[in-house]
């Protein structure tokens, strides 16, 4: 008995360890490759990434941050109000709206981008960071709304009832009593919105067309189509690291609440 369990533990550690190495290897390698230079290690590749003709410019980062901020803010606002409505109220068209929102998941994103591109042109939002953010918010909605509805439903109804007895209206109930209670859901929704908007490639590729609007992702991907006769792989890996670092930091901070939010929200429905 003792022996099998020890063998068992060893098998577990060996398999898990080997797999963990395989999964971590590409990440570690990109860090290594981005620091590796002809004369050892240094920041030369990062220097080229930020200074050569082809690479990241400060405005790319500003654009990415703008799009991310707008998307996270917009998603949180719309999904919180929507989740509150779906979790706490009955209203005409509720079921239909919920189903249509979830249908976004089933519809090929890429297929309506052509139409979105034309539509944004009509609205005067083509080649604009706001237009891009609105589209990204829409694509975040099914997941976020689902998550927030479940989060609100998980909060006991007695909480709002007692708040209403204390004279709170529905809005102050939401802001004072319910928001703190659904915080894990908010964090998950916000984190997901950030990850998607910060990393998104296809939507900006189609919806943005002047270089001063380009996001970091577009700038880094453009390095793949190098114009100086060779692909600068080392600078490219530096670009990958620059893109990944903010996400990894957020992950490290939020992993616990993220997982909790995910478990309590996404899979309950």
């Amino acid at each position: 008995m003792q022996r099998t369990s020890r063998a068992n533990r060893f098998a577990f550690s060996a398999t898990g360890g080997a797999l963990a190495i395989l999964f971590l290897f590409p990440l570690l390698w990109s860090g290594y490759a981005s620091l590796r230079t002809s004369s050892g290690f240094g920041l030369e590749n990062y220097d080229r990434l930020f200074t050569s003709d082809n690479g990241i410019r400060p405005h790319n980062v500003v654009n990415s941050l703008t799009v991310s901020a707008l998307t996270v803010g917009g998603t949180l606002l719309v999904a919180t109000l929507g989740g509150y409505a779906f979790g706490r109220f009955k209203f005409w068209g509720k079921e239909a709206l919920f189903l249509v929102t979830l249908a976004i998941l089933m519809v090929p994103y890429a297929t309506i981008l052509i139409a979105l591109y034309v539509l944004l042109g009509w609205l005067g939002l083509q080649d604009s960071l706001i237009g891009l953010s609105l589209v990204l918010i829409m694509f975040q909605l099914p997941f976020s709304l689902f998550m927030m509805r479940n989060s609100f439903e998980a909060v006991p109804a007695e909480l709002d009832e007692s708040a209403q007895v204390d004279g709170c209206n529905s809005f102050s109930t939401l802001t004072r009593i319910l928001l703190p209670a659904v915080r894990p859901g908010l964090i998950t929704v916000g984190l997901f919105a950030f990850l998607t908007s910060w990393n998104e490639f296809f939507a900006p590729l189609i919806l943005l067309n002047s270089t001063d609007k380009f996001t970091t992702t577009l700038a880094v991907v453009n390095m793949r189509t190098a114009s100086h006769g060779s692909i600068d792989y080392a600078a490219l890996e530096a670009g990958v690291v620059v893109m990944a670092v903010p996400c990894l930091i957020l992950f490290a901070f939020m992993q616990r609440s993220y997982v909790r939010g995910f478990t309590s929200g996404a899979l309950k429905g």
């Binding site: 591109y117 002047s210 001063d212 793949r224 189509t225 190098a226 114009s227 006769g229």
Partner: protein, 426 residues
């Protein structure tokens, strides 16, 4: 405020243009500059990375001597057509944009450029500039774009490797068969040196470098109207067979098979390639790396010089409100001043045929040779050129892959059908 000023300027210039066309039968310089306005407008110009350096030197020189100011933005070559298309759909085209000359017909047919027929006719230089470029920017008899740069395909060879391999560095090949022999000789040097290199996974690279050999051998590629492919010819098959044998026996570097374009120049800059066809504008870029290069015409199998006259054409964006100012810039780029002091001075090929020999070209005999080639070369014309030949998913690239690495005979005959179909799509 600004837009009202621009509108006034545009209206004013329209009146002048009408006057110039109606009143004068002779195109005096005064009349042509009347159609152009230099009032301090800010003009945006888009170009592809390959042309960026030239567009920027034009803009710099223009900005120094004019009130209008041109700002150049460059896009990666491969992304550029798509970016133009999406900007057009968004009605946010720049005031000026250039295009690979072979794609110009498509943009002209789609109305992405403004009609400049009358202005161009009034400029007095229309019959002095590269006719292939003018034709490329023409649709239904109207002119939409003017020549911007010329880039031609030539044989580039490494003089040091030639000497090492026991070849005479001053005697480049005069037939394509000689090219193969010399490449094989250089390849014997061994190590990481290879005889030749080509873009075997790049439709644009292959058409630019292989077609001159087909033309030089007396064959053709597409008909004049640009609607029927003619690639199932003996000449085409022979040219492919020759390159195929170079790849099969290892004379061509193995990476040739996967070369999709981005690292093509880098391979030649490495100094490890004996001789390879490529763009003439790379001469300077390769020599920058301290490699001594020779230049020779691309030839047919048994001789016959030819070249692919490439480069860019440029026109005024259809949605631009500053067409008079934009035309002022375009008109200036075709002037003797710009062509000699910007293009020729930087070892470029002038777009003006009457300026092929100038005070700068005589300094480097290689440049004289390149300039002289223009008259022997061709520029194919087709509305659906990009989708048929250059795009990574084009039927031409399929054909190239088959002809070089697969079943050559079927590839060419099936490719001919597929390309014709693609050319004829409305």
């Amino acid at each position: 405020m600004i837009s009202r000023k621009v509108q006034a300027a545009a209206a004013f210039s329209a009146v002048l243009l009408a006057a110039a066309l109606g009143g004068c039968s002779k195109d005096t310089p005064a009349a042509s500059s009347a159609a152009a306005v230099d009032d301090g407008a800010q003009l945006t110009l888009w170009t592809r990375a390959a042309t960026e350096a030239v567009s920027k030197s034009y803009a710099e020189a223009y900005n120094k001597t004019h009130k209008n100011q041109v700002t150049v933005t460059a896009y990666p070559n491969e992304e550029y057509p798509a970016k133009l298309a999406s900007a057009a759909g968004a009605k946010s085209l720049p005031d000026l944009f250039g295009s690979d000359v072979v794609f110009a017909a498509q943009y002209a047919s789609q109305g992405l450029w403004q009609d400049v027929t009358d202005r161009f006719a009034a400029s007095g230089v229309k019959d002095k500039v590269s006719p292939a470029h003018v034709r490329a920017g023409t649709w239904d008899g109207r002119n939409y774009a003017v020549p911007h740069t010329i880039d031609m395909s030539v044989m580039l060879y490494n003089k040091d490797l030639y000497a090492k391999a026991g070849l005479d560095p001053e005697k480049p090949p005069t037939t394509l068969k000689e090219f193969a022999e010399q490449a094989r000789k250089v390849n014997k040097l061994g190590g990481d040196v290879h005889g030749t290199y080509f873009g075997g996974n790049c439709g644009g690279c292959v058409e630019f470098t292989f077609w001159p050999s087909v033309w030089g051998s007396g064959g053709n590629v597409i008909d004049d109207a640009g609607t029927t492919a003619k690639i199932d010819s003996k000449e085409m098959a022979d040219v492919f067979a020759l390159y195929r044998s170079l790849y099969d026996d290892g004379t061509a570097a193995p990476a040739s098979k996967d070369e999709a374009g981005p690292t093509w120049l880098g391979a030649l800059q490495s100094g490890k390639i004996g001789i390879a066809p490529g763009p003439s504008v790379w001469l300077g870029l390769i020599e920058e790396k301290g490699i001594k290069m020779g230049v020779a015409p691309i030839t047919g199998l048994d001789g016959g010089d030819s070249t692919f006259v490439g480069g860019d054409a440029m026109g005024i964006g259809a949605t631009s409100t500053k067409s008079a100012q934009a035309w002022d810039f375009l008109n200036w780029t075709m002037s003797e001043e710009a062509q000699v002091e910007v293009i020729a001075k930087n070892k470029g090929v002038p777009i003006r045929t009457d300026l092929a020999s100038n005070k700068y070209s005589s300094a480097d005999p290689r440049i004289v040779m390149i300039n002289s080639l223009a008259a022997k070369g061709k520029t194919p014309y087709a509305k659906n050129f990009n989708a048929s030949f250059n795009d990574p998913q084009s039927p031409w690239l399929q054909t190239v892959r088959g002809a070089l690495f697969g079943d050559a005979a079927t590839a060419l005959s099936q490719g001919n059908t597929a390309i014709t179909k693609s050319l004829q799509q409305s």
